[in-house]
């Protein structure tokens, strides 16, 4: 086995495979499929201050090469997460990323505080804790805010600034591909002290039921993910990685080891795997094997040799 270790925001990842928020639950489910301790990291299902029931109506629809989702951030809330899910998280190896959603600044800030306090306490007791907060300013499926924050740089700046002040944990900001200018957005995050940038979240998309004569989704629009978006996501990661110093967690449609390598060559420090987890319930394991083979074949000792070379 090659040494695949990576670093983001001072945190060591044993390899670049991080499971993307919303596609890996809290990890327990996939732990039945394979040894998730092999993974580099896990970003949990997007958490909000209060529990959310998510959206009504259809939540999933396949598209050509991708899928639309309108989950609407269903989650048990931060308290329940810290109380229930952390029990399992304390037992596992991968870097633990708490993905934080919200519909207004106050929710984000209070959420970040709770997560931070919990992590600090656990650390004092020498227990494993959340390693990083991933600020999701880009969920297209939440009416009241979510996506709005992700589009205009100056609106987003306020959220990033306030959350940055409230947490001692390393902060990643997850960007929306719907942002007016994703490079400006990333530069802003860096200016405000974010230690990492995650991109991309889902693209706002639509599907119409021509017999019902309505949108398939109650919320009208939904979020597009999967291999279909990969070429655009890769381009955005490339653009952003060229313009910021902070590490990038790149994602969007990754569905093979060769996709992983493309994102690393485009400048990503680690990658995140989303929809592919549904296509292959053992995605993590298989991607790691594939990356190893590629490195053997190309005689690469460390991913640093190829990171950002394009």
């Amino acid at each position: 086995m090659k040494n695949l270790a990576c670093e983001v925001a001072g945190i060591r990842f044993q390899n670049p495979i991080v499971m993307a928020s919303g596609t890996f639950g809290f990890g327990k489910e996939y732990a039945k499929m394979y040894d998730i301790n092999k993974l580099g990291g896990i970003s949990c299902k997007g958490l909000t201050l209060h529990p959310r029931k998510g959206n009504g109506g259809a939540r999933l629809m396949e598209t050509s090469g991708g899928m639309l989702n309108s989950i609407g951030l269903e989650n048990p809330g931060i308290d329940a997460f810290l109380r229930e899910e952390m029990k399992f998280w304390e037992t596992i190896e991968p870097v633990k990323i708490a993905n934080l959603g919200g519909s207004n600044i106050e929710e984000y800030v209070l959420g970040a505080m709770k997560i931070t306090q919990d992590a600090e306490e656990r650390r004092k007791q020498n227990r494993r804790a959340v390693d990083m907060i991933e600020l999701n300013i880009s969920c297209p499926n939440v009416k009241e805010g979510g996506v709005a924050f992700g589009i205009k740089t100056e609106v987003a700046r306020e959220v990033v600034r306030e959350v940055r002040q409230m947490t001692s944990l390393p902060l990643a900001v997850k960007l929306s591909p719907n942002a007016e200018n994703i490079v400006h957005m990333a530069v802003m995050c860096e200016e405000e002290g974010a230690e990492a940038i995650s991109l991309v979240n889902t693209f706002t998309g639509m599907k119409i039921d021509i017999y019902q004569r309505t949108s398939v989704f109650k919320n009208m629009y939904a979020g597009l993910s999967g291999p279909a978006i990969k070429p655009i996501a890769l381009r955005m990661v490339h653009e952003v990685a060229k313009q910021v110093e902070v590490p990038v967690m790149g994602m969007g449609g990754i569905a093979s080891a060769s996709d992983v390598i493309e994102f690393i060559m485009a400048g990503a420090s680690v990658v995140q795997i989303g929809t592919y987890n549904f296509m292959n319930l053992r995605a993590g394991e298989e991607l790691l094997a594939g990356i190893n083979s590629y490195m053997e074949l190309e005689n690469i000792q460390s991913l640093d040799e190829i990171r950002g070379i394009i």
């Binding site: 919303g22 090469g65 987890n277 319930l281």
Partner: protein, 234 residues
């Protein structure tokens, strides 16, 4: 990867696929099936129709791209199965009726086999009956109804338990008709799924006790806990 032993068209648009392997399954559980690389993106949930010592059987109806691709498979081809998933039917002792509609009869064959005291089985079809012969050995009474309402033939008070799987409207009718009676009704639901293992919240649906995931909390639910006013089945 598993090997397909046969994949036969048993009625218009209805197939039975036999896949080699030894599987431990509870009645009412399902597998996520995949016989392609990346297109379509998602695997397809299909109920276990029957299990034999050396193989497992699925019965499916061709309705779209995924099932169309299944229908093209032939002996010797490979298919990926993940599972079994879902809670499955609870095994109860008492007087049992199984009520199936259309392709919803699929899980009821394996279900029927689990009862020492043979259940009464009611199978309703819109225009063609299929696989009914297979149910005979496991049925006390077997009622088949084509192009009528199978529910008309059921005396609900004769049963302690009803297990039903079929179109939403049929299952809702079963729930309505048994309301107030001393009959426990289990319904098996369908909903589009992405992961099948409870990780994505894609199949999450409101019930009387909050949201439930069809893939892990279900697909089987107690009829009385179902929130029939919401669109359960999308």
């Amino acid at each position: 990867m598993h090997t397909i032993l046969s994949n036969e068209c048993i009625a218009k648009g209805i197939y039975v696929m036999k896949v080699k392997g030894h599987f431990q399954v509870k009645m009412g559980q399902f597998f996520m099936l995949r016989a392609w690389e990346n297109h379509p993106i998602l695997s397809r949930p299909i109920s276990v129709c029957n299990v034999e010592h050396e193989h497992i059987e699925f019965m499916y109806k061709v309705v779209g791209e995924g099932t169309r691709l299944f229908a093209r498979l032939r002996e010797g081809d490979s298919i990926q199965l993940e599972g079994p998933f879902g809670n499955g039917f609870v095994h109860e002792s008492g007087r049992v009726a199984l009520v199936g509609g259309g392709i919803g009869i699929a899980p009821l064959l394996y279900t029927a086999k689990q009862f020492r005291n043979k259940p009464d089985i009611f199978l309703g079809f819109r225009d063609q009956a299929y696989l009914t012969e297979a149910y005979k050995p496991f049925a006390n009474e077997l009622h088949i109804c084509v192009n009528g309402n199978v529910l008309d033939h059921i005396e609900w008070t004769r049963y302690d338990y009803v297990y039903t799987c079929g179109p939403y409207a049929m299952m809702k009718a079963v729930a309505d008709l048994t309301k107030g009676l001393d009959v426990k009704v289990y319904v098996s639901f369908e909903k589009r799924m992405a992961c099948g293992i409870g990780a994505c919240y894609g199949c999450s649906t409101p019930s009387k006790h909050g949201n439930k995931k069809v893939c892990t909390d279900g697909p089987v639910f107690l009829a009385e806990e179902v929130n029939w006013h919401e669109e359960f089945s999308l």
